[in-house]
């Protein structure tokens, strides 16, 4: 049970069906629970590799489309169920699980990515719409082994506890700094309000953004 499920054969997650998950432990358990092991086992036999999304194919089933985009500098062409969000494309198809799924409704910011340089909620972005775009995720910020200054600042300022919101906070912070909304702690708070931190690390998050924006 080590290869990927072909998209067309993957049963949709209960009640939603907007992504075609690769067989992580989580999704395997979820689909097994939802539809029974026999169906899943049958699907695995014809699987394609997670590492070769270009080979992913669509067969009969929900409408799908082919889309080419650049993710963290790497060109990708995938064929996906039209319902797939950008977040699910990256997490479930391309193995980039740094961006998190919090609310899946545009209310928490954990999935924040840059699309053509602008920060967006990847959960509300249909991947099929991104033809020709450039996407940057938390995985694309570091330069080799050297962290992005804001990543380093989050460590310096101890700006997280559980860490679940942190990738979204950092990518959003990069956008905030690029936009120039870092004139004061109050301004940073307002322009970072789309990222919720349930551990309540806001004071240190603001400091990390300030540090990177060159105010300290």
């Amino acid at each position: 049970m080590s290869t990927e499920l072909p998209e067309s054969n993957v049963p949709p997650p209960t009640g939603a069906g907007e992504s075609s998950p690769a067989p992580t432990r989580r999704t395997f358990i979820a689909t097994s629970t939802a539809v029974g092991g026999a169906v899943v086992a049958g699907a695995v036999i014809g699987g394609t590799s997670l590492l070769d999304p270009e080979e992913a194919t669509a067969a009969e089933g929900p409408p799908s489309s082919r889309v080419s985009l650049t993710v963290n500098g790497t060109h990708r062409t995938v064929t996906i169920d039209n319902r797939t969000s950008l977040l699910d494309l990256l997490r479930e198809h391309l193995g980039l699980t740094g961006s998190k799924k919090g609310c899946n409704a545009g209310a928490c910011g954990a999935c924040t990515m840059l699309v053509d340089g602008h920060r967006v909620n990847a959960c509300l972005t249909l991947a099929v719409r991104l033809e020709g775009t450039e996407v940057t995720t938390i995985e694309g910020l570091a330069d080799g082994a050297e962290l992005h200054p804001l990543q380093q600042a989050f460590i310096d300022q101890d700006a997280f506890q559980c860490g679940y919101c942190t990738p979204g906070q950092i990518v959003s912070g990069v956008g905030c700094i690029q936009e120039g909304h870092t004139g004061s702690p109050e301004e940073i708070r307002e322009w970072m309000s789309g990222n919720i931190c349930r551990c309540g690390c806001y004071v240190k998050i603001v400091r990390a953004v300030e540090q990177t924006a060159g105010r300290k």
Partner: protein, 326 residues
């Protein structure tokens, strides 16, 4: 989410044809994708209009502005002409949603956005807007955030947009393009009160496309601004809000544009407040007296009685912020 076919169109005429055939337009998608995931919306075909050439902000001849339907909220808010001519518009935009959502959402989509009523969004609840004839769970449910103005027995949901409140105050108009050509609808007639047909929310026809929102020229100098009162400081919908624009000449208010948000089934133009202001000299007493009429006709529900008083205070405070005191 239900399956759908997807098509991206870069020609306006083709888009209108696809819309007439039943395709559902998607621009920023921040409302639509969310509601599709909740299965409140289940379009069979999405027509992606995001690459249509509707991204210009242009000055009109006498000092108004025309904002293309696909200009994003963040682009409109940051535009120098919007900021200098109509601060109330940029303030309303920047007090909306989050930076991420404002980067995605369009001006046309913003005024087309659907209510945040929790019962509308919950497909297991009765909702005349989502499922005509099923009833309104909000009337006898938890209705703290619901409307007190413009309601009907069928529906008490608020319109959630902030910038639409500014547009209503400024008496903007919506430019629509359909297969029969272009038409222009005053903002006051574009968003519809629920009445007996809460499902119908805008005066837009099948296949018609919003091309721009036009803000008319107003006498200068004009001071304007937007105040939003909510349960948390940011990234939250309004409990109440006030859009105010005042033209003062010779120490007298010559023109006043006032509308309220968070309280109505549509952005609520406060004509009585405007009448109470025009021809008078700015003063604290005037702001109080004019704002006293802001909640005229309100029909509060079980949990939102506070909104009538909050609305008066919101309007009074924003009149003072914009108009100052003597």
């Amino acid at each position: 989410m239900h399956p759908f076919t997807y098509t991206r169109i870069s020609d306006t005429r083709e888009a209108i044809n696809a819309g007439r055939r039943g395709g559902r337009y998607i621009a920023g998608g921040t409302t639509l994708v969310d509601l599709m995931r909740e299965t409140v919306e289940h379009p069979e075909t999405l027509v992606d209009i995001s690459r249509l050439p509707l991204r210009e902000i242009t000055a009109t001849e006498r000092g108004g502005l025309r904002i293309g339907a696909l200009v994003t909220m963040s682009q409109a808010a940051a535009h120098p002409k919007v900021r200098t001519l109509f601060p109330v518009v940029s303030e309303a935009l920047e007090l909306s949603a989050s930076a991420q959502l404002r980067n995605m959402a369009s001006i046309g989509g913003n005024i087309m956005q659907r209510t945040r009523c929790t019962y509308f969004r919950d497909v297991s609840a009765d909702c005349n807007k989502r499922d005509p004839g099923s009833g309104c769970a909000a009337r006898d449910g938890y209705n703290r955030t619901h409307a007190i103005l413009g309601t009907s027995d069928s529906c008490v949901a608020t319109h959630p947009s902030d910038v639409a409140v500014a547009f209503a105050a400024l008496e903007a108009s919506v430019h629509l393009l359909g297969s029969d050509g272009e038409r222009r609808v005053p903002f006051a007639d574009f968003l519809l009160k629920p009445g007996d047909t809460p499902r119908r929310e805008q005066a837009i026809r099948q296949g018609e496309l919003i091309t721009s929102v036009e803000i008319p020229a107003l006498p200068r100098p004009l001071k304007s601004g937007y105040l939003k009162v909510r349960d948390r400081q940011s990234y939250e919908f309004a409990l109440t809000s006030a859009a105010v624009a005042l033209h003062v000449g010779g120490g007298v208010i010559r023109d006043a544009k006032v509308a309220a948000g968070g309280v109505g089934t549509v952005p609520w133009k406060l004509a009585a407040v405007e009448r109470a202001l025009i021809g008078r000299r700015p003063s604290d007493a005037l702001w109080t007296a004019a704002a006293e009429q802001a909640a005229d006709g309100a029909r509060p529900l079980t949990h939102n009685r506070f909104k009538a008083e909050l609305l008066k205070r919101t309007v009074e405070r924003q009149l003072r912020i914009v108009g100052g005191t003597k």
